[in-house]
Point group: C2
Chain length 179, copies 2
């Protein structure tokens, strides 16, 4: 952010009076431009013992596999967002189930919210952001070709828990890998 979205003036980066953190502030119109984490919402669409994954047609991680998910939009609920992303990326209709996982990714200012979902039919196909959409049994999951750590962790746990017959909510944090 360089310019004020309200008046077009140059913004400053400093701590407003009475605040604890630096913000973008407009010295002309005095607007404080707060920046907050974004929600990424998605689901694990289930069909008998298989789950649906999408192969990404966009960056980042072009060509790798993930569950249907994306940025939550204004004016929708978490469940509506997860269903919309599933329709957009996989042309798939689901009945949303229980909340399954929430992962914080503080170094990129994201919170990922993942539901379980029941695929309503097999009439799915790649949306414009997917190269391919397929059902995978546990033994078929392309573990080395998953797009994101934030998908890898809950899917590992999903199959472990499913073997025990006990799928429960989990909250976790994906830490930055410093090299």
């Amino acid at each position: 952010m360089k310019f004020c979205s309200n008046c077009g003036g140059l913004v400053e980066w400093r701590i407003p009076e009475g605040d604890a953190l630096p913000r973008y502030i407009c010295p002309s119109c005095h607007t404080i431009h707060y920046q907050n984490p974004k929600i990424v919402v998605g689901c694990i669409p289930e069909w008998e013992d298989r789950i649906l994954l999408c192969r990404r047609a966009i960056e980042p991680r072009h060509g790798l596999w993930t569950v249907p998910s994306g940025f939550m939009e204004n004016a929708e609920t978490l469940v509506q967002g997860a269903a919309r992303e599933t329709l957009e990326e996989a042309n798939a209709r689901v009945e949303m189930g229980n909340l399954y996982a929430i992962y914080n990714i503080p170094h990129i200012n994201q919170v990922h919210v993942l539901f379980r979902a029941r695929l309503l039919d097999l009439d799915f196909s790649p949306g414009s952001e997917s190269l391919d959409v397929r059902l995978f049994a546990e033994t078929e999951i392309p573990w080395t070709e998953l797009a994101f750590r934030v998908i890898h962790e809950p899917l590992r746990r999903y199959f472990e828990e499913r073997q025990c017959g006990r799928l429960g909510f989990h909250m976790g944090t994906i830490e930055e890998i410093r090299g």
Copy 2:
């Protein structure tokens, strides 16, 4: 948003190519300015059979009571945000417990995330955004002076469930009242 925060030019409000929703777009530098829901994070701080509430010293709802909560900041986790808000608004230290409720408020583009928490000591006091901070037993809760519906619903449920000895996670949506 009237001006592009990247180049200072006037933005347009239209649907970008390949998108489904209108966005603020800069015709000069081609930046698309996405706007997404914000997360409000808080907790129900418990001390024996009582819970801590704060009386708001700021608008909206100046003078009314609420649990410690506020906008999640970049670079923090949900639990860190809830603890930070509790420290800021009530100078209170808590051990965060289970996730208790998530409420969508789609008409104001917010998702509220509420934890249960254990107050670690009785050394609390009003922060700069609070007029008063007090512990309330169930019979003492100022139900008609609670600041927000998104607090009223989970607190009602909290005390009902506590009487049954079974506190469980709940997800809900606060709909706009049109009159």
